[in-house]
Amino acid sequence: MTAERSLELSVPARVEYIAVVRLVVASLAIARRTLAEDRIDDLKLAVSEACTNAIEANLESGADNPVVVSCWEAPERFEVCVADAGVGFDPDDLPQHPPVTDPDRLNFERGLGIPLMRSLVDDVRFESSPGGTAVWMTLFGGPEFGDETTEILRVVISEQD
């Protein structure tokens, strides 16, 4: 089902605005009610990670472009898109970390954002080009579905992709 844009928030590429973005996304997700509280925490964290990267990308590009966060709603899912106008990147070609048991692991203070996003939300999609990046994150569980149905639906929908 096509999702409908419910809200668009555009903020300067400055770290002090991330808290407002979290607040907006969480309050919209809470209003749906069928998303459990821990799923909303997951979404907040994933969105925050995507915004951190988007702000960094915009700052690096030098131009003073805003970060644009939009929320999209469909009966069975809630989507958030975080878009920047940075130089883009290849999400399938990120440096690999040594396993956590390796003492060298301590030399990696970064690179945790995308792995976190991937495991926190039901689906993450990157659309990246030299003109910018859009990160799409989806949580399943809409006003019309209970928990079990959501799980089933999630499987069905991801098989259709």
């Binding site: 991330i18 979290r22 945790l112």
Partner: protein
């Protein structure tokens, strides 16, 4: 929302740093500075009490990993106090539960273990 950073050095050899609020890319630099400052001032056994933390992202994790590394290189250690599921979850997903000692209370973190100074 300012990050709360409260130092309690009444439990020598441990120094307890109580962190309150949201640790993200905006506030994490203050946490980093505080840890650096404590290490330069000679503190070696730091206990970061995360019970007052409402939100912690990968930048916050990075700062804690950096603090641990710094302390280890001075023969010290960084122990975390954390029982909140939503914060623990972030350590679990990233595999950092195997890197940090995570205690259930400041007492457990400071009492059960002899200091090594």
């Amino acid at each position: 929302m300012e990050l709360g950073l409260q130092v309690d050095d009444s439990r020598a050899p441990y120094t307890v740093l109580a962190v309150k609020g949201e640790v993200d890319v905006y506030s994490a630099p203050r946490l980093r500075e505080k840890l650096v400052e404590l290490v330069s001032d000679g503190h070696r056994q730091i206990v970061a009490d995360l019970e007052g933390v409402d939100f912690l992202d990968s930048t916050g994790l990075g700062v804690l990993v950096g603090g641990l590394k710094r302390l280890r290189s001075h023969d010290g250690d960084l122990t975390l106090v954390c029982t909140q599921p939503r914060i623990l979850k972030v350590f679990e997903i990233t595999g950092l539960t195997t890197v940090f000692k995570i205690s259930e209370s400041v007492e457990e973190a400071t009492g059960d273990r002899p200091g090594n100074e």
